[in-house]
């Protein structure tokens, strides 16, 4: 069972992790502190979170490395970074490369933290909903969907996948039926949770 507002706070400074978690809880967010990112990854499968707030500079495991491993475990968890030594390169990488929702500087600005966490929770909720809807598609239907959102016509898809145009149309009908997306715009939204509103 996935808790839809669960936030994990990871920082090797135990007091800070606990403080941030308490802060979030005071604002109605269900948050748990962790000091050991490795242990959290081991246990994550049991209780995945909606949002993970992690320090960048940690003893055991670098925050970015941790984010990569977490992403592999759970593509629908929103990741937020916080750091005591902000660098422009890190800020850009944290969003572009590591798929983070935000990059926060310590000492942490409370309003920004709360708004980012809420944003992360919303993102995660959408990502999970979309993942739920596309989960029913067959592998072939996913392939077709992938090409559709890239602007391929039915004929082009047929040529690309070496199937008949008629079969492609059948797949499209199945996709629309299973996901409820009946236009190209909705199909695109289906694959891009971050931009979906």
């Amino acid at each position: 069972m996935i808790e839809h507002d669960l936030v994990y706070v990871v920082d090797d400074d135990q007091d800070l992790a606990a403080s941030v978690a308490r802060l979030l809880r005071r604002h109605g967010v269900h948050a748990e502190p962790f000091t050991d990112p490795v242990a959290l990854l081991d246990a994550y499968g049991e209780a995945p979170a909606a949002c993970v707030l992690t320090d960048v500079m940690m003893d055991e495991l670098d925050g970015f490395e941790f984010a990569g491993k977490l992403r592999a475990l759970d593509p629908a968890a929103a990741i937020l970074f916080m750091t005591a030594w902000p660098k422009t390169a890190h800020a850009v990488d944290s969003i572009r490369v590591h798929g983070g929702v935000d990059y926060l500087e310590k000492p942490i600005d409370e309003e920004r933290l709360l708004s980012s966490v809420r944003h992360g929770l919303a993102w995660s909720r959408r990502a999970r909903a979309l993942a739920g809807r596309t989960a029913m598609l067959t592998p072939r239907e996913r392939e077709v969907l992938g090409l559709l959102v890239r602007g391929y016509s039915s004929k082009a898809i047929a040529t690309e996948l070496n199937i008949s145009a008629r079969t492609v149309d059948d797949h499209r009908a199945q996709i629309s039926q299973k996901t409820g997306a009946n236009s190209l715009a909705k199909l695109i939204a289906l694959t891009e949770p971050a931009r979906g509103g």
């Binding site: 400074d13 007091d15 800070l16 403080s19 802060l23 005071r26 670098d62 005591a84 000492p107 409370e110």
Partner: protein, 544 residues
């Protein structure tokens, strides 16, 4: 400004004579009194020299020259004209000099030396200033003291030759021996009288009497006294054996005193010699013998005083180098702090973040209608703990970056190393290198705490910088003979280029180790890695 002073100088010739452009009446009166007192003292000392008058013209021992030199050195060479006037007036009034014929040559002979002294002092002053040295540095003074009489002797030729040939024919032998007597008399006068007067003047001026009575340590003083006594005994023995008064042993002893004990010891040796020799040569001794003995005495005075000045200048230079070393160490500490600032900011931000969050929570909790006192107590305790951590961090950094003084104290090695490891830890963490302190026996070393911590931190930071991410640096210490050996061992994955530093860290660490009587050995171990060992002499009586 120049124009104004020019006009004033033109309007008031006295002002010009006194050598200062702008002075008011009270200052002028004070200077007038000073110069009058100088003139009277000078005339008194001049009359004292009469019993050493040789060849009827000059004295072989002329203490007035010492007063003149000390006076001009103190008030500045440019006041020489006024001083010459004062000398002339006082001597003339007390009839210690007589104006011969022709009058202008005679007057030139009386005031000439004073002007020459002023010129030499001015030159030495400006030379010393051009080299950035202070005017009262030992060597410039010694050189001026030795050179002034010689220059005065050469400058005396224009009036001495006409005066000597006045009788008709010029007796060159008589003239040159008279000039020799003049030079020796002035030289002895300056070297015996001027140094104590100047020490007195500087002590009065600075109010610090310790510079005036700086006594060498007992062992050193005993050594010097023994040497002078031995030399005197040797002189007495040689005289008893019929070789006459041979002062060469005293010359060597006096130079030794100067080299070992500085100017003060040199001067005492000169005084001791003069006190023995001068009574022997006053009055009924043949001129030739008297000149010969005074020449030896002058050699002793010049040699000893130059040696003493050299020793003092060297001691001063060593002190200055020590002072500059401290400044360099301090600058390097600040540079290290700057280099560590990334890690330090991280260290500060962590507790500060917690404090910021908790303080806000505390405010909100206290503003609530029914405050949860347990909650508030917990939060306050956490804030207190974090603030304490921050204060500790600041204390550590301030202790590291502060200006070190020259005090050495006995320190236990354990806490010292622990402190350094704590300082280096944040940076090591950022580099992904772990530091393990494996400890060692309880040892005490007498060190300058700030500087030795700097040396250790430099070595530790070097080891961290040379390690690859995930590397391990171990720190431990042991007792080897009478030394404490602090070893810092790191694995080097590959030959890494030196990091951003200037590479001055190891040089500074070596200099500090050297200053503590220790050394640093860096070795590449056969099993891999580099080990840096800081060896420091152990305390003889370790405090437990």
């Amino acid at each position: 400004m120049r124009g104004i002073s020019g006009i004033e100088a033109g309007a008031a010739p006295l002002t010009q004579v006194l050598g200062s452009a702008r002075i008011d009446a009270s200052t002028a009166l004070r200077w007038l009194l000073v110069f009058a007192a100088y003139g009277i003292l000078f005339a008194l000392l001049r009359s004292l020299a009469i019993s050493w008058t040789t060849h009827g013209l000059f004295s072989l021992w002329f203490p007035a020259a010492g007063l003149r030199f000390a006076f001009l050195w103190t008030v500045g060479g440019r006041r020489a004209p006024a001083a010459a006037l004062a000398e002339f007036a006082a001597s003339f009034a007390s009839r210690t000099v007589e104006i011969g014929d022709p009058a202008f040559l005679s007057i030139a002979g009386i005031i000439g030396p004073c002007l020459v002294y002023g010129g030499v002092i001015l030159t030495v002053e400006s030379q010393a200033r051009a080299r950035g040295a202070k005017a009262f540095d030992p060597l410039p003074f010694a050189i001026a003291a030795v050179v002034s009489p010689m220059v005065a002797c050469i400058a005396a030729l224009p009036w001495a030759v006409p005066l000597a040939s006045e009788a008709g024919s010029l007796d060159a032998h008589l003239l040159f021996s008279a000039l020799l007597v003049f030079t020796l008399g002035d030289l002895l006068g300056i070297l015996v009288v001027a140094p104590p007067l100047l020490w007195l003047a500087s002590a009065v001026r600075s109010g610090d009497w310790r510079t005036f009575v700086r006594v060498p340590r007992a062992a050193r003083a005993t050594e010097l006294v023994a040497i002078v006594v031995c030399a005197a005994a040797l002189v007495w023995l040689l005289q008893r054996l019929g070789d006459g008064l041979v002062l060469a042993p005293v010359l060597l002893a006096a130079c030794w005193c100067g080299l070992r004990g500085g100017r003060a010891a040199a001067w005492l040796a000169i005084i001791a010699t003069a006190l023995i020799v001068l009574p022997l040569t006053s009055g009924g001794v043949g001129d030739a013998e008297r000149v010969q003995v005074h020449m030896q005495l002058a050699c002793i005075a010049v040699g000893a005083y130059l040696a003493g000045s050299y020793a003092d200048a060297q001691a001063r230079a060593i002190r200055e180098i020590g002072r500059r070393d401290r400044l360099l160490f301090q600058a390097e500490r600040l540079k290290t702090l700057r280099a560590m600032s990334v890690a330090v900011i991280h260290e500060v931000s962590q507790p500060l973040s917690t404090i910021a969050i908790e303080a806000r929570a505390l405010r909100q909790a206290s503003e609530a209608g029914q405050p949860d006192l347990d909650d508030i107590r917990d939060i306050a305790a956490l804030i207190d703990r974090k603030a304490h951590d921050l204060a500790e961090l600041v204390r550590r950094l301030r202790g590291f970056g502060g200006g070190g003084d020259a005090v050495s104290t006995s320190q236990a090695l354990g806490p010292l190393v622990a402190e350094v490891v704590t300082l280096a830890a944040p940076e090591a963490k950022a580099a992904g290198v772990s530091i393990e302190c494996i400890g060692g026996p309880q040892l005490c070393v007498t060190v300058n705490e700030v500087e030795i911590r700097q040396a250790m931190l430099n070595l530790l930071r070097n080891a961290v910088a040379a390690s690859a991410a995930g590397g391990l640096v171990t720190v431990g210490w042991s007792e080897t003979g009478s030394s404490a050996c602090l070893s810092i061992h790191n694995q080097v994955a590959a030959r890494r280029a030196a990091g951003g530093g200037m590479g001055i860290g190891l040089i500074i660490a070596r200099a500090i180790a050297h200053a503590h009587g220790g050394r640093i050995v860096a070795e590449t171990l056969p099993q891999g890695g580099v080990r840096c060992t800081l060896k420091l002499p152990l305390d003889q009586d370790p405090k437990q």
